[in-house]
């Protein structure tokens, strides 16, 4: 039920974001979504890709420090209040969200929320108990293509 997210360390200066993305592109790996957290000095690039193990290998070969994290994807209706409803469930259960990001799917009426939980296994249990739909890797790839 969990997805593998790749995180990369980047210095916060012009041109630094392009380099790893180009490395992945050259390997023919498609990026499903990404998010970037930054300070004035450095940034953390988080990627969900189709072939995470291959992507990790090519990035590491190119000299990047890559970290692998388990995240949880949930699909919600892509309409006002869709995210709020999901968050209400998580807050009600007292689950701690480290960070999250979201993206819409090209077809259909679904949006995908990516959550980084302190305790992903417990979070999945709560989400399922509350009737939310947790998307696994294969399903996400099908939805996104």
């Amino acid at each position: 039920m969990k997805l593998q997210q790749l995180s990369l360390f980047l210095e916060n200066r012009p041109g630094r974001l392009g380099a790893p993305l180009e490395t992945i592109a050259k390997a023919g790996i498609n990026i499903l979504t990404l998010s970037l957290a930054d300070t004035a000095q450095f940034g953390i690039l988080r990627l969900i890709v189709r072939d995470w193990d291959q992507a990790k290998a090519v990035l590491e070969d190119a000299g990047w420090v890559v970290n692998l994290t388990e995240v949880v994807a949930v699909d919600v209706l892509d309409r006002p209040g869709g995210l709020a409803a999901a968050l209400a469930v998580l807050e009600g259960a007292g689950l701690n969200i480290e960070y999250m990001y979201a993206f819409s799917l090209r077809r259909g009426d679904k949006a995908i929320l990516i959550f980084r939980f302190e305790d992903p296994d417990r979070a999945i249990k709560v989400l399922l108990d509350q009737g939310l739909h947790v998307v696994d890797g294969e399903e996400l790839l099908n939805l996104a293509s």
Binding site: L10, T39, V65
Partner: protein
């Protein structure tokens, strides 16, 4: 040790006429200075036989007072290094019984542990007079009020200058270091004519005044005595222009006494070395042979009159030039140039001595931060800034921003604990720092202090 072998200050007439605190001692001819140095060096050789480090050396080589027939014979004596002092920590270099000590100061060391420097009551007396001399040479009068914005503590700057000024009879405001706004309030209320601090802090005071809407040129200060860190002629011009003062340079190091080894007279063409108390050689740091007259070399100092912790040929690691030509002021003493560099990797950051090895020690406490790091020192505005660049490694990296920020803070805290300075920690990408075949270059000093 006989008291007669030491200079008695009471026998001298002290004053402030013509910038001479001790006219008799300060205007000796070159010949008279050298004759006195030989005499005191002989006595010193006898006295340091109390110190095992020197005694062992002397016994092996059959060295004694008889070995000193000319000043050149000082080169028959061993050199002393900071490492030697550290190996004898804390008091292996004491030449008097512990009970004879009157004060203990300290200097920073590579381990974050200070090297202690001990003084007898007479050492403190000598020190006060040495500070009085350079202060008076720079125009200090008993009617002046002096604000001391140096740290008071193990650091020798605050107390050394304090007692020198007290000796001259001027009024002291022991404001101590920091809190610029309060320093300015004190200046406004008490009208001190003289300021004592590091040169960079003088510029901080000027900045602080402007922030409060005060023109720094209208401050009461007319004279500044600055030391404790290397500075340049350009910086002197800037300080004088901004504060409308005359700025004097002085030099010293805690291992040999503290401030008072040398200082400028009104001519300000080099710092007069107080040669009746210090025998200064200028050596090539590689060959350890004397450099040609007027060439830059490492200053090596023998303390001729220190009682508690006399040092023979102490390697200061400071690079400067000596000038033995007579000075317009009438003093016959040799003058030293500004310190233009170091023969080791010591960095002086806002007056704090920092060895790169201390930063490395701090980094070693945080797993994964070594071996690839670089210490960058700059002076973007008035004050020194240190950036420690650390290459990110897998064991350091987290996808969570809070963890990354905690990491930076932790490294910064460790550096503060070991080296006593605040450093900015810049995490950088892997392989972004230059790689070296051989000895890695860990320090990039962009301050251009050699000017």
């Amino acid at each position: 040790m006989s008291p007669q072998s030491h200079p008695s200050h009471h026998a001298h007439q002290h004053g402030t006429e013509q910038g001479l605190w001790d006219p008799e001692a300060e205007t000796r001819s070159r010949d008279a200075i050298e004759a006195l140095q030989i005499e005191r060096l002989r006595t010193l050789v006898a006295r340091v036989a109390q110190v095992p480090f020197y005694r062992d050396h002397f016994v092996h080589r059959e060295i004694g007072p008889h070995s000193i027939r000319s000043l050149a014979d000082v080169r028959r004596l061993p050199l002393t290094t900071k490492d030697d002092l550290r190996r004898q920590h804390p008091f292996g270099f004491l030449a008097v019984p512990r009970r004879a000590l009157a004060r203990i100061h300290g200097s920073s060391g590579t381990t974050g542990r200070p090297t202690f420097v001990a003084y007898t009551a007479r050492d403190l007396e000598t020190w006060s007079h040495l500070c009085a001399r350079f202060l008076v040479a720079g125009g200090l009068k008993p009617e002046h009020t002096v604000q001391i914005a140096f740290g008071y503590g193990l650091f020798t700057g605050g107390f050394g200058l304090h007692y020198g000024i007290e000796r001259v009879g001027a009024a002291i405001i022991p404001a101590a270091a920091g809190n610029t706004r309060r320093q300015l309030e004190i200046m406004r209320d008490l009208d001190p004519e003289v300021l004592i601090c590091t040169p960079s802090y003088a510029l901080t005071i000027a900045d602080g005044a402007r922030e409060l809407g005060i023109d720094p040129r209208t401050l009461p200060i007319r004279t500044g005595h600055f030391g404790g860190e290397p500075w340049t002629e350009d910086m002197r011009c800037e300080i004088e222009e901004q504060l409308d003062i005359t700025a004097f340079n002085n030099y010293g190091l805690s291992e040999v006494i503290g401030p008072g080894v040398s200082g400028e007279c009104s001519a300000r063409t080099g710092m007069h070395i107080q040669e009746d108390h210090f025998l200064v050689e200028c050596l090539d740091p590689e060959s350890l042979e004397p450099v040609a007259e007027g060439e830059a070399g490492e200053l090596v100092i023998t303390t001729l009159t220190r009682e508690a912790m006399p040092l023979i040929r102490y390697r200061t690691r400071d690079i400067a030039r000596l000038d033995r030509q007579p000075c317009a002021c009438g003093r016959g003493t040799a003058r030293m140039s500004r310190v233009t560099g170091r023969t080791d990797d010591l960095l002086i950051i806002r007056g704090v001595n920092v060895f790169p090895s201390q930063i490395e020690e701090a980094l070693l406490r945080v797993e994964g931060t070594t071996p690839h790091y670089l210490i960058e020192v700059s002076r973007p505005g008035r004050l020194d800034e240190v950036h420690v660049k650390v290459e990110i490694r897998p064991e350091l990296f987290s996808d969570r921003m809070d963890r990354m920020q905690t990491l930076c803070e932790r490294i910064s805290r460790e550096i503060q604990a070991v080296a006593g300075i605040r450093a900015h920690v810049d995490l950088v990408e892997p392989r972004s720092l230059e790689r070296f075949v051989g000895k890695a270059k860990r320090v990039l000093d962009r301050r251009n202090l050699g000017a």
